[in-house]
């Protein structure tokens, strides 16, 4: 198992949003997180990525297993596409950015400052970062925002290739990516209001 989650409870700003979450991801598997706005998908992904501690339960994954992609792409407007991507490749200790540029059709934009890209192009660059992290588990928060149909296709291909290489992906999304993946509705694990009253922050 690349990632397994046991009876996890997560909180946003001290208020429990989800509890009793259990799932596991084996190499080659993808899990699509579903749920209405505000149901806790982002909080769950941030907790899995290690940005915030879980309220209860356990997350079993290697400390360097998870590559996280959020709503913000983490791009510097004054650096070019190549410079942005090379920076992340060096931070994660991987070398070649050419496959990542090719996978998201960014090769023609390589010398353009990231600030001059359209929203969809920025998104593609943000997703290309995942390929240079070299990490097996992708935790993606609405990765297809502002992508057109063709770019969504590129993204789905990249995820398929990643799964074929033995990776895994945890994706929160509202659209159908055409992936063969299990679906997980987080709304079923909504934390009961009682749990909020027991939280220390409110005592």
């Amino acid at each position: 198992m690349l990632l397994s989650v046991h009876d996890l409870a997560v909180a946003r700003g001290g208020v429990p949003v989800l509890e009793g979450l259990s799932f596991a991801l084996a190499p080659g598997e993808a899990l699509i997180l579903r749920g209405p706005n505000g149901s806790g998908k982002t909080t769950l992904l941030r907790t899995v990525a290690g940005l915030q501690p879980p309220l209860a339960g356990r997350i079993d994954a290697a400390s360097d297993a998870i590559a996280y992609a959020a709503h913000a792409d983490g791009l510097k407007a004054t650096l070019t596409v190549t410079e942005n991507l090379t920076f992340w490749a060096r931070v994660f200790g991987t070398g070649d950015i050419a496959p990542a540029l090719a996978a998201f059709a960014l090769a023609d934009l390589a010398d353009r400052p990231a600030g001059a890209l359209s929203a969809g192009q920025k998104r593609r660059l943000g997703l290309a970062r995942l390929l240079v992290t070299g990490r097996p588990v992708w935790a993606l928060d609405e990765p297809t925002v502002s992508l057109d149909t063709a770019a969504v296709g590129l993204f789905a291909d990249a995820v398929r290739a990643h799964l074929a290489r033995g990776g895994a992906a945890l994706i929160a999304t509202h659209i159908d990516l055409g992936l063969e993946a299990r679906h997980f509705d987080v709304a079923a694990c909504k934390a009961s209001p009682r749990a909020a009253a027991e939280d220390e922050a409110f005592l």
Partner: protein, 218 residues
């Protein structure tokens, strides 16, 4: 780690990066002082070390909110926090990049500005030495303040209010060393205390900065 430092330095010299902003501010403050206090060279010479130190301190303060806030706004701070780099190393590198782009130019230009304030010739060396020894502490303490206020929009003023009191010991011993040097006295004691503050903050504060950053990123 080198990658992060190289990126920060490159960003600083690109458009809107703010390199030279602190330097220009420092220059203007020191040029304004003689207009304010009058052209008496004796008085200027006496207050020059203090003015140069306060000018350098305020110039440092000016760019503190860029250290972490920009990375927080565009989401790279979240991504860096999940990268293999420990947060302690991240904040240390951020402080180092801030010192190279802000503190170091101030150190190098201070003796030249000393001329404008009729600083005695023997004071040039000591203003250089005391600033070189003291400005790293300003960057490290400033990074701690930046980590404390990272999630707050327009947190620049709050950051200044938090950080300025923490700058007091550095200012006292730094300006004292420069003043004693300019007047021809021994500078050993204030310089030793200044070095103690600088090395102490470099050794300890990154842990505090990383801890508050972890809480602010939740």
């Amino acid at each position: 780690m080198i990658a992060l430092l190289a990126r920060d330095l490159r960003l600083a010299v690109r458009a809107g990066g703010g390199f030279g902003l602190g330097l220009a501010f420092f220059l203007i403050v020191t040029v304004l002082v003689p207009f304010g206090v009058g052209p008496e060279t004796e008085l200027l010479a006496r207050i020059a070390p203090g003015i140069l130190w306060i000018g350098a301190l305020l110039a440092c303060l000016l760019s503190l909110d860029r250290i972490l806030a920009l990375d927080w706004e565009d989401g790279s701070l979240d991504l860096l926090a999940t990268a293999p780099l420990p947060l302690e190393a991240l904040v240390s590198l951020k402080a180092l990049a801030h010192w190279i782009t802000t503190g170091l130019p101030l150190v190098l230009v201070a003796p030249a500005l000393g001329v404008l304030l009729s600083l005695p010739a023997e004071g040039y060396l000591w203003i250089l030495v005391s600033l070189a020894l003291g400005t790293p502490a300003l960057s490290v303490i400033g990074t701690f303040g930046a980590a404390l206020t990272v999630g707050i929009k327009r947190g620049g003023l709050l950051l200044s209010l938090l950080v300025l009191p923490l700058y007091v010991p550095t200012l006292i011993f730094g300006a004292e060393a420069a003043r004693r040097g300019a007047e021809g006295f021994s500078t050993a004691t204030p310089l030793a205390l200044l070095a103690g503050i600088t090395f102490g903050t470099i050794a300890l504060l990154p842990f505090a900065s990383a801890a508050v950053l972890r809480i602010n990123l939740r």
